[in-house]
Symmetry: C2
Subunit: 256 residues, 2 copies
């Protein structure tokens, strides 16, 4: 039986100010909750149905509240509530200075759509990119739609929010900074490196003007055929991220 | 001034049964509405603010209703309503038998997420793929989230719903059918062709069992590094579509 104050608490976490106040966020779904429970994250509490609790083994030491499906509907943000919802503690991410200079890092400049943010974290995970750096005006990592869209990749990719101009100022000289733009060098004729920053701009405005001076290589994904007059103005930010990461990693794999 | 029955009519179009009944759908946003008005689609009615109507030129012959911003909030499906919303007539799409055999075609097997569907249509547009064929259990093209996510590409890409097993049965012998799978030939060592079907499975279940017999080439997007134990289980369906389309078109562009 879930109490009224528990319902209010879970619902309050839909808002960033309450997530920041309580230093925790919501994750739903069996696979995601179990991955979080086995990761560097701490699961504070689990709300789950009788059936799920009977059938599932998970780490001890987590407070468990048995709930009825109709109660789950009252706390879930999903249109089809899953049998389990967890309250998870936020993680203070230590920066990854090594990967910043020796490996690829994704830099997100103002990504607003939670689905795009979560999908980009999942892309980073697939392509072995260990850190994603976001501008402070990007959507909050702990937004429940971001968490759900990561499909568990949040447990394997570190995400930090920084003021990007200062970040680029402090970046070691010689680290390539690739900017995905609508005009630039053809991605497929450029020479990708095993390290560097790949900067993805916001859905509506691309890479912000104040950052373009830090871009050392402007890259573009060519449309097809090249002589076409009318085509989509751009690709979705997460799709563009997938294509550029695939291309960089492919060449690295081939040269291994 | 918008009437109560107009509000009810626009709101009813959130449901597929009313879209099918009235043979029309909703599109919001200045760029999208103007692209539709100049395309093969017929815009039946526009609801727009005074400012938008004063500042915008568009095709004559469209019924126009001037509305206040607070009225727009009552009919809009967006959290930030745009100054214009259009009622657009559905289009009966003629099949593209030529492109089916001479060009690339995307085949979607049960895509459920409206954002993925719209994003995939936008990808098709970017890479010059003229037709997308969907299984009958895929999300409805005219769902407003699909329409918004196409970002106007709906005007340049034809989308048809068919029973896929019958479609593949009738397919000319020799047309390659590429299936994006978690296990298959490495996309980057496979030999892409200028024509063929690229089949994308549903978010939760991949390509359905009853269709795998029609796949002539199983392709996979390799994760990185290849010896990693833990990584995302899969890529988002739209991201995978973007990566495979980019790869096929890139090689075609290089060999042109």
């Amino acid at each position: 039986m879930i109490t009224k104050s528990q319902i209010q608490f879970v619902q309050s976490l839909k808002q960033k100010k309450y997530r920041d106040l309580h230093r925790c966020f919501v994750a739903e779904g069996s696979k995601l909750v179990l991955e979080l429970a086995e990761s560097r994250f701490s699961v504070r509490q689990i709300f789950a149905t009788t059936d799920w609790l009977r059938d599932t083994h998970f780490a001890t030491g987590i407070a468990v509240e048995e709930v009825k499906p109709f109660e789950m509907e009252r706390i879930s943000a999903l249109s089809n509530p899953s049998p389990v919802l967890a309250i998870v503690e936020m993680q203070e991410e230590a920066p990854e200075p090594t990967s910043r200079f020796e490996d690829l890092t994704l830099v997100l400049d103002g990504i607003q759509d939670p689905g795009n943010m979560g999908t980009i974290i999942r892309i980073a995970d697939w392509f072995g990119i260990r850190e994603v750096i976001c501008s402070t005006d990007s959507v909050d990592l702990y937004n429940s739609k971001v968490i759900q869209a990561t499909m568990g990749s949040i447990t394997r990719v570190k995400v930090n929010y920084v003021e990007l101009a200062g970040f680029f100022e402090a970046l070691e000289v010689g680290v390539p900074v690739y900017g995905m733009m609508l005009e630039g060098e053809n991605l497929y004729t450029a020479e990708p490196t095993p390290n560097g920053m790949i900067v993805i701009g916001s859905e509506a405005h691309g890479i912000s003007h104040k950052l373009t001076g830090y871009i050392t290589h402007r890259l573009t994904i060519p449309f097809y055929p090249a002589d076409r007059d009318y085509h989509a103005e751009s690709l979705n930010a997460a799709v563009a991220t997938g294509i550029v990461c695939a291309e960089f990693r492919k060449r690295l794999a081939i040269s291994d």
